[in-house]
């Protein structure tokens, strides 16, 4: 997707010239090829810093919360859906943002790459069509991108932005071969005891750094429940304390998560965080035909109700 870079720069430049935006939020090159640096550009001279590639995997919608300027922002399918959620949850106004849509071909799972190259330090990555070259000190190898995509990208149903003002390229065709919730179904099949041991193992390494929460655009509570004094939630790395954090956070995202994969991407310990919320995404889809962030016209799944709801508990 490196080919999108030039187009993004042109669009950003034009938006500044036409005085349509005050700032532009995108990515710039950093010192770690797997984590390009999110950047805010307010000086039109600096649009040349902007880049795009298959490692731009954080959900930039996180940076929109509470901003008052007119903002240009690059957005893939999942990011655009998070922006939709932000709009319907009154975190930003649609007219304040200019969405530069990225038809997304998927984000590279750096863990898959590191496993393959056995932990060597990656100095540079060069993309070419459907493959990418990993350049290390005295070693380089070309890989097929398809084999190294993030799991959420492999089951992505909306790679194209659902709202945008302009696209950087023609829409891509969503992949259809892979069942979306197969991984959740595998866990659903387990017995309660097996499920518990799965979760115990999954969160064992958690260091309570909260990177998953902080990178998530939908985790914007001014004070997170885990930071409240009353009620008090344990802050140690004891299993129950850690589990409380992950489960309640997942529940807060029910019907809102767009499966962008940022939480899992940033986790320093490689915890499969996505799967907790994905179970709730699956429930929302199967029980209410709901997919998060698809329409500006509807309220959120769990904050709207119908008088004629056929369930009698409401």
């Amino acid at each position: 997707m490196e080919g999108y870079t030039e187009k993004i720069r042109q669009i950003a430049k034009r938006l500044f010239e036409e005085k349509r935006i005050d700032i532009f939020i995108g990515y710039e090159k950093g010192t770690n090829p797997f984590f390009p640096r999110p950047t805010l550009i307010s000086d039109p001279q600096e649009v040349e810093k902007l880049i795009w590639n298959s490692n731009c995997g954080l959900n930039l919608c996180t940076y929109l919360t509470g901003r008052k300027e007119r903002i240009g922002i690059v957005a893939t399918g999942c990011v655009s859906r998070s922006i939709v959620n932000h709009i319907i949850e009154n975190q930003i106004k649609r007219e304040k943002i200019y969405i530069v849509g990225i038809p997304c071909k998927g984000i590279i799972d750096y863990r898959k790459v590191l496993r393959r190259i056995e932990g060597k330090e990656v100095l540079r990555i060069e993309e070419e069509g459907e493959s990418f070259k990993v350049i290390c000190d005295g070693f380089e190898e070309r890989f097929k991108k398809e084999d190294f995509l993030q799991e959420n990208c492999l089951s992505c149903t909306h790679p194209n932005p659902v709202i945008y003002d302009e696209l950087v390229a023609d829409p891509v065709t969503p992949r259809s071969e892979r069942p979306v919730y197969k991984d959740v179904e595998e866990i659903e099949k387990k017995s309660p005891k097996e499920k518990r041991s799965y979760i115990e193992q999954a969160i064992e390494g958690c260091i309570r750094c909260y990177a998953c929460r902080n990178v998530c655009p939908h985790c914007y509570c001014p004070t997170c429940f885990i930071d409240e004094k009353i009620p008090y939630f344990g802050k140690s790395i004891d299993f129950v304390d850690t589990l409380t954090f992950h489960i309640i956070r997942a529940m807060h995202l029910a019907g809102r998560c767009t499966d962008c994969g940022s939480c899992e991407r940033v986790c320093p310990m490689g915890i499969p965080i996505r799967i907790f919320v994905k179970k709730l995404n699956k429930d929302a889809f199967e029980l209410f035909s709901w997919q998060s962030g698809m329409s500006l016209e509807k309220g959120q799944l769990l904050s709207t109700y119908r008088r004629d709801d056929y369930d009698d508990f409401i």
């Binding site: 770690n32 999110p38 950047t39 996180t62 260091i207 750094c209 990177a211 344990g234 940033v266 320093p268």
Partner: protein, 355 residues
């Protein structure tokens, strides 16, 4: 100095682990962590460095300090009693020189003439630090620029050099000699020493980064505090705790009481200046409520407050974890150089503090 083949070394380590807690680097998925050597644990010394620093071996992330009873019928109700802790003698084998140096930095805080952290200092005195010289520093490494080096002996009791088929081990302190006696091996030969010297030269040449630390240290603290860069450099930061929790030199903690029915524990947990509640006052006021203030604090502490207080360089051992694992590429080297190169009228701003 001794030379020992790797297989023999591992056999001896397993013997030592019967009487000591021995911590070794262990491969976990695509990264390494220090773990206690047990029968089913296979150490992997061909690692770059562990993802989590070994600081938790002396300073656990969550530690029960005291326990107490809230039962009125208990004669000892409301009396704090020290919780049981494990103070077995322990050996960290394969610690990188940057992380050993980091313990010396942390020591400045936990072991001062006025205050001594009882548990940290006790564990420190019971720990033997066996280093593993770093043959292949990474692009994010800058130990050499902060008073250490890939072959530095700072804070080590003995240092091992990986010569391929075996380790050359040099004892530095009595504790190190004691370890070496347990390991055995043959007297080192001249060719071993020459090979180690060559590896050292090659490793040091790999650390090329130009860091203007001296220029930054010369700047007045208030001027750096008021720098114009903080707002813009803090933009990408998501203020998570990765950098501070992975950092071998970050020592901040918070103490919480946790009550379960009629008993309670007083626990200390690692804390991070990146978190808003780190400085939240009981009144509700937060002096570091905004992100840029928290980002500024992390760098000010490491780059200005610590050096001014202890006069021992910056509070950083150059391990590069915060660079490698930051999801938004907040690169401390970039920030050091931006601050060092900043042009400001120092004489005026150093007199006033607007914040």
């Amino acid at each position: 100095m001794r030379f020992v083949l790797k297989d023999d070394f591992l056999k001896k380590l397993r013997e030592i682990s019967k009487n000591y807690k021995v911590f070794v680097p262990v491969k976990k998925d695509y990264f390494h962590l220090f773990q206690e050597l047990k029968d089913d644990i296979l150490p992997d010394f061909s690692f770059f460095n562990t993802k989590l620093s070994p600081k938790s071996i002396l300073f656990p992330q969550s530690e029960r300090m005291f326990e107490y009873s809230l039962d009125k019928d208990d004669p000892d109700a409301y009396i704090l009693k020290e919780a049981k802790k494990d103070f077995s003698p322990q050996i960290i084998v394969g610690i990188r020189p940057c992380d050993a140096h980091a313990f010396q930095i942390v020591k400045q805080n936990f072991d001062t003439p006025e205050y001594k952290d009882p548990w940290w200092t006790k564990r420190y005195s019971l720990t033997t630090f066996i280093g593993l010289a770093c043959n292949s520093p990474r692009s994010s490494c800058f130990c050499l620029k902060v008073g250490g080096g890939p072959f530095s002996e700072k804070g080590l009791d003995a240092i091992m050099y990986d010569l391929g088929e075996g380790f050359l081990i040099k004892d530095i302190t009595d504790k190190g000699r004691d370890f070496l006696d347990k390991i055995g091996g043959d007297e080192a030969k001249k060719e071993h020493l020459e090979k180690a010297e060559k590896l050292k030269k090659e490793a040091e040449e790999k650390i090329k980064v130009d860091l203007k630390i001296e220029d930054l240290l010369k700047r007045p603290v208030l001027s750096v505090f008021e720098s114009d860069i903080w707002n813009s450099v803090s933009f990408p930061c998501i203020t998570c705790g990765i950098c501070t929790f992975l950092c071998p030199t970050c020592w901040c903690f918070d103490i919480q009481d946790e009550v379960y029915g009629k008993r309670g524990d007083r626990i200390r947990n690692w804390d991070s200046c990146m978190f808003p509640i780190f400085t939240l006052h009981a009144s509700g006021y937060n002096p570091r409520g905004e992100k840029f203030r928290r980002v500024r604090q992390r760098f000010m502490h490491k780059l200005k407050y610590y050096p001014e207080r202890y006069k021992k360089g910056i509070q950083c051992s150059g391990c590069g974890r915060c660079i490698m694992y930051c999801p938004t590429n907040m690169d401390i080297r970039r920030i050091i150089n931006m601050l060092a190169e900043e042009k400001r009228n120092e004489s005026i701003s150093s007199l006033s503090c607007k914040d």
